[in-house]
Amino acid sequence: MTCSRTKKLLLAAICALAVPSARAADEEIKIGACQPITGRFAFAGAQLNAGLADYIAHANEQGIVKGKKLVYIYEDTGYDTEKAVATFKKMMAQHSPVIMYGESTGQGKAIAPELNSRYKVLYGSTSFSSELADPKTHPYSFVSGPTYSDQFGILLDYIVKHPKKGKPKVAFFYSDTEFGKDPIVWAKKRAGELGIDVVAEVVTKVGAVDVTTEVLTLKQAQPDYVIFQGYVLAPIPEVIRAARDHGLETTFMSTFWSMDRAIIEKLGPDAEGYMGVNPYAYWWEDAPGIAAMREYNRKAHPEVTYRPNSYIQGWFTGMVYVESIRRVVAAKKPVTGDNLKDALATIKDWDTGGVTGKVTFVNNKAAVGRVYRANVQKTTFEPASDWIYLK
């Protein structure tokens, strides 16, 4: 009698202890991030972090994932690969999140062996490197949109459809960094297939100031379009000014990082005709997804009047995370890295409310983007094409 009562009491105690903790573990889904908030990449890092954090808070408010609370944890890495890997391990040990966010291409490469064999969490990052979108070597990572190669593909697609006179001639102008060189080999091949002549390739240091010889090279080659890659601001304004001084009538184009409002402000009137590809819509656009983002900012950060495209990249990455979680939860599966990775691969023709085009993840990336043209009077970018999808 006493024995069974003791047993019952014990059982009750065990249940009382076990149930709430089990439920608490179920309800919270942790998302960790190694963010480059200080260091060379700080200009984007703080915004990427804010975008990701805000979308997760927004998703909690809206109750997008039913019955679960999403928890966002981040740490600064200072844009240092070794420190970033250390931070990754620290966060995994402390919080064991099911999703991680990384600060750089370098971190993605360095963490890959252990990500695949031990950690097995869904991994998104700041990077658009095509290497990280290779499902064979990086099955758990994905690129939040098109890779740099895809971005070049979208621009080349646009160029073929908008020839100036005769066979289109382009020049590639890139920095001698991983970021600069990433898409070049693929882009040259692609240009060949599309019948575009690559008439010049100019390689410079990132912080190059004197660009006279480079501009003379462009002048000799007389390309219809010049595509920049691997820079943020400098030396793009210098090149465009010098080219205008030499009377060059070339259209200058860029990929994601040089497609923020900051470059129009820097260029002033020389921004006339400046174009490029952006995987996401801008802050001022009318799409419902962007309006929701503005609305969230109005409530949570009333002082904010503008968010750069790096913020929107963070926001969109948050959308991908939450959509993957939603799909796993809807299928009544446990939220693990493996299930999230599989859920990501099922995303097809997903409507993001105009934050970007219809999203389909193939090979751990969504190859969609739109070509924009600078509007100098309004210091904005305006769409020059519809969403372009690369096959």
Partner: protein, 347 residues
């Protein structure tokens, strides 16, 4: 001077660890190093491995700059040469790690011999610029010699393996790193008990007098460069097995400067100094980061302000050391040791 510490033989006079207390502390250190991997998690082990790899490089730079007085701004590049040589040996020629790492050391050693040549003619700041050129040239080679270095994408390397035992986790790598770091610290300490080591010090103190005493300046300076680069190369080779990937962006100029900071903060011309300096420069920013992380509990927004403060605090600490103890951490430790030598009696 410790009371009752008499040297009765040359061997006792030349011993590395001269007193029972020093030997006891060495024992404590070795025991701590042996126990550490079983207590620490992945994060601490990873940091320990990073410190170990960088410590080997810092020991090398201290041989060149601290002991021989030849300043170098190209130390990271030598580390890179070692890393690429080891990675190529491991991937192209399927060399096991115990071949690949020494290959890295030897490759860097040869590169150091070439870069060291101008040191005969130029000194001080001018030599700093000459070695800076080496840094730039090697970085360019890493990026552009695509056929060998894999260009910007670099080379991925499988974990080290010995007799079927894979050094694939941080805990396993730890033993490899600590063993190599201890071995190289021991060699470096021994070096300065030889003729060559004393010749290095003579060159640092006054190169003309050294030459008058019969030190062959050219040979000795080149040798200092070679040994120093060999250490950097070993550090690079080990880095490959630690990071599992090598890219040109792993060895920037800022790493060369960080190496100089390590040996200056730690103490120029001391073995312990290189080790203390590495620990300080690597771990203190991490510690500060963990502290700023606490602010996240108070206000998540405040973090964006707290993070940059960390760099300011770290910078102020370095300046503070230089002002209050120009001989570095090693000297601070020595002073504490001297204080306790007679403790509890006053001097």
């Amino acid at each position: 001077m410790r009371i009752g510490d008499f040297k009765e033989s040359y061997a006792a006079d030349e011993a590395l660890f001269r007193t029972p207390t020093a030997r006891a502390w060495l024992g404590v250190l070795l025991a701590a190093l042996a126990v550490f991997p079983f207590l620490a998690g992945d994060y601490l082990l990873y940091l320990a491995n990073l410190v170990g790899v960088l410590a080997i490089g810092a020991l090398g730079l201290n041989i060149l700059t601290g002991y021989t007085g030849q300043i170098s701004l190209g130390h990271a590049a030598f580390m890179g040469v070692g890393a690429y040589a080891a990675a190529v040996a491991a991937t192209r020629f399927a060399a096991p790690f115990w071949v690949a790492v020494p290959v890295g050391g030897i490759a860097a050693c040869l590169a150091g011999a070439v870069v060291g040549v101008p040191s005969l003619r130029i000194k001080g700041l001018y030599l700093a610029i000459a070695t800076l050129a080496a840094q730039v040239i090697f970085e360019w080679v890493f990026t552009n010699w695509t056929g060998v270095t894999g260009g910007i994408r670099g080379i991925n390397v499988a974990p080290a393996s010995l007799l079927g035992f894979d050094f694939d986790t941080d805990r396993r790598t730890y033993f490899l790193v600590v063993a190599l770091a201890a071995l190289h610290a021991y060699w470096a300490a021994n070096l300065f008990r030889t003729r060559v080591g004393r010749a290095f010090v003579a060159i640092r103190d006054h190169d003309l007098s050294a030459e008058l005493m019969g030190v062959n300046l050219f040979r000795t300076k080149i040798l200092a460069f070679m040994i120093s680069s060999y250490y950097a190369g070993i550090a690079g080779g080990l880095f490959v097995y630690f990071a599992k990937v090598v890219t040109p962006e792993s060895f920037p100029l800022s790493l060369s400067i960080q190496y100089l900071a390590m040996i200056i903060v730690g103490g120029l011309g001391t073995i312990q100094g290189a080790l203390y300096g590495t620990v300080f420069v690597t771990l203190v920013p991490e510690g500060l980061r963990s502290l700023t992380q606490l602010a996240q509990l108070v206000s998540p927004e405040a973090m964006t302000w707290f993070y940059p403060m960390r760099d300011i605090v770290f910078g102020a600490m370095i300046v503070g050391f230089l002002v209050f103890e120009p001989h570095g951490l090693a000297e601070i430790v020595n002073r504490i040791r001297r204080f306790f030598a007679l403790w509890p009696f006053p001097k």
